[in-house]
Amino acid sequence: MSNTRHPHPNGEPRASQSDGRPGRNFNVVVLRQDGPGRPSYWERHIVEYEQDMNCISVLQKIAANARTADGRKVAPVAWDCNCLEEVCGACTMVINGRVRQACTALVDRLLQDNPEQIELRPMRKFPVIRDLMVDRSRMFNTLKKLKAWVPVDSYLDMGPGPRQSQENQQMAYVLSKCMSCGCCLEACPQYLKIELERKEGETEEEFHARERELHDRAFIGAMGIAAVDLFNTNPVGRMTATERLDALVAEGGIQICGNAQNCVKVCPKEIPLTTSIARAGRAATVHMLKRWFDR
């Protein structure tokens, strides 16, 4: 499947048994990269099978072992994780070719599908920091661009928020479960990677400003579109809907969506992203006509 230029290390020793039954070992290949701009390379590890393993515990074992299949001592694989129960969104990676959370990628299931090995690689749409760690700050910059918040006057006591229908709450809750994991963006054929190199003599601030500018012009993706949908249906957020709609139809906005609908298929939180995209599309249509005829 992989369109990478680096061949799998087929010549290296493999775990003799990898059918996933207890007491057996299995193979894990990891696409590693020592840092930004460095070449990537595949590395094979043999992991001892244990009950109830997921890809996080596989990586924990690799870290504790820190040896490749051929016994070479290597630095532990770097990866991101935090909650390990699929609510924090940290541990996104590409597992056997498909983007998902490592914590819910159960080893038993993966070995059922492919007894040969488990293949881990970093997301392709974000700059690699190291190994399986990527820089997803673009997503948070997108949320800034879209003004994805409820613009309250103050944090003083002003009584409760507006009443809301159950229907409205349920819709908002589903959208609000988005944990910025980036799966929808990774699987999106229209979302392209942006990787900048820091220029010589450029300060960190200048670099981030340049990066932010580029992020602001690039595609916001399904997660951004759903955020606009969420805040523009909030009774208070709706009051500033125009600002978010302006951002929605600006450069890098909803128009880039190509309706491949991979986003909704890979979303671990089962957020109805394509519904949001269509609703935002409708809002954008109305907004465009208004801008044309009301100016």
Binding site: M1, G97, R98, A187, P189, Q190, L192, K193, I194, L214, R217, A218, F219, V249, A250, E251, G252, G253, I254, Q255, I256, C257, G258, N259, A260, Q261, N262, K265, V266, P272, T274, T275, I277, A278, R279, A280, G281, R282, A283, A284, T285, M288
Partner: protein
Amino acid sequence: MPAIRIENWERFLVSILGPSSPFGQHDFIIRRIHSLVGLVPIGAYLIFHLATNAAIIDGVAAYQHRADQIHRLGPTTIFVLEWLFIFLPILFHGMIGMLIVARGERNVANYPYGGNVRYTLQRWTGAIAFVFILWHVFHMHGWIRAEWWISGVASRFGGHRFDPENAYSAAEAIRASWLIIVLYAIGVLASVYHLANGIWTMGITWGVWTSPHAQQWAKIPCLTFGLLLGFLGLGSLYAMVAAEPPQTLVAPDTANIPPAIHASPRS
């Protein structure tokens, strides 16, 4: 004069194909026009065009009659209409479309979902249809209706095969080679798929069908429409290939046809 340096080309390509839009501020409106133009006039014209051609199913005479009806508008009107409502919109839609194709990263191998397959097909059929239409217009129409072009260039390279006075010339041009027949079949099907699926995605883009249920439901009319139009197109193509030459007319002079095309299996 300094030579154009490679980095500048790279930079140019990145500025066109890189992550940020080549159209800048006007991206949204350009894409919406692109979407709209695909339906009206291009999609509408495709229906009209295939329906017109379908007249040949009833015989060459009916087909000739239909051609006469259209050409009664007169050359100037036709010139304005075809450029304004057909050629320019197709050029616009096709060129923007090619940029859109170039700026996506297809990944159907890793994500073999129905929607992704349709997305990928939409890109492929779009590209195929665009190239096909360019060639098809050259083949039948010749692109430019100036005498120097037609006799000097178009005819010499196998273009301008259609003569409205003798509509049967279209059928002859098509069945000149099995290759042309296959190309026409592919081109027609690609265009039809691109239109039918385009209508479905347009419904999402413009916010007509929003819920998963509605989107699922909307597939039915789009699919039906596509199938009908596909049958119509292929039916016309078959009728073209099978058409009998009109009795009242003399078979056109084939002296100008280059040997490659002339050597059709049917001749």
